[in-house]
């Protein structure tokens, strides 16, 4: 199968090849890597299986017709923006509205603590522990169970009595708050 034959070529290289010769065969290898994810994204917004499938087809067509107009560096982020914008346009029912797509998307900065940093590791640990204590009760509980006790969403949900959606939300918000506290 084509996907296995080209599995050693990463997205960046496929994009580079496409921009070099404008041959859509490179898109024929790149896009199927995202079919399942796009299907999920479209289903999340459109809440209908058939509409989600149609939407994915339309997104593919859009990429084939328009990718050459942009200089995309991070294809995953770019196609996610395309998919979201397309779904939102469908929901708004206004196919002509222009939605600004920022294709210069930079991946999230990894602020993994560097152990060679100026601050000593134990000071960092203390700061982190204090930051966790300053989270609200639910965020604290979820962060502790998920990251420190390595529980899954469903286990955290069962232990806390929170729904899966609430667990996800508390984890995302908790992590964001910790980042803010640690960088201040």
């Amino acid at each position: 199968m084509q996907s296995k034959k080209y599995s050693h070529i990463d997205d960046a290289e496929l994009l580079h090849n496409f921009y070099n010769d404008h041959d859509n065969k490179w898109l024929g290898i790149l896009l199927p890597r995202y079919t399942l994810l796009l299907l999920g994204v479209c289903m999340k917004y459109l809440k209908n299986e058939e509409n989600a499938k149609d939407c994915v087809q339309q997104i593919f067509l859009k990429v084939i017709n328009e990718l050459h107009k942009y200089k995309v560096e991070y294809f995953k982020s770019w196609i996610y923006m395309i998919a979201k914008n397309h779904c939102l346009m469908q929901l708004r029912g206004n196919k002509n509205s222009l939605v600004e797509i920022n294709e210069q998307i930079i991946p999230a900065e990894d602020i993994t603590v560097n152990k060679n940093d100026l601050i000593e590791k134990d000071e960092l640990l203390n700061k982190m522990q204090e930051a966790i204590m300053r989270l609200n009760a639910e965020q604290q509980q979820c962060v502790t169970l998920f990251y420190l006790q390595k529980k899954s969403y469903s286990e955290v949900s069962a232990l806390t009595g929170l729904s899966m959606l609430q667990v996800k939300s508390h984890l995302q918000n908790g992590k964001r708050n910790l980042k803010l506290m640690m960088s201040s």
Binding site: G40, K76, E109, V113, K150
Partner: protein, 120 residues
């Protein structure tokens, strides 16, 4: 434990392959494997949205056939575009052939006229 504490803020930039994602959706993973997948979900809006949407599909087994259908349609779309491009190029060719034939005819007529003039 201290490494876990410090690593809370690191971003999991690992890609999850489709099979692992399907296994996650079908609840086939161990608790530990689920946790690894979910660490990526916390950090990736795309993955998070995708999983939320995929969980809404009634029949997870059908997902694979949907993906296959979409990929086959994509392949046809790309082939159609290629064929149209080639046909467009071929369509332009007849004019080229016609022009060449016309030029050859003009040259031949020219030679004939000159020959007639030189050999009355």
């Amino acid at each position: 434990m201290s490494d876990d504490l410090l690593n809370i803020l690191s971003n999991s930039n690992k890609d999850i392959d489709n099979q692992k994602l399907m296994d996650y959706l079908s609840d086939k993973l161990s608790a530990e494997e689920k946790h690894e997948v979910e660490k990526t979900l916390v950090d990736s809006e795309l993955m998070n949205d995708a999983v939320e949407g995929l969980e809404k599909f009634k029949d997870k087994i059908e997902l694979n056939s949907f993906v296959e259908q979409l990929n086959n349609n994509l392949k046809k779309q790309i082939e159609n575009k290629k064929t149209k491009k080639q046909k467009r190029q071929l369509k332009e060719m007849p004019w080229l052939y016609f022009s060449v034939i016309l030029i050859i005819l003009i040259i031949l007529i020219g030679f004939f006229v000159i020959w007639k003039h030189l050999n009355p």
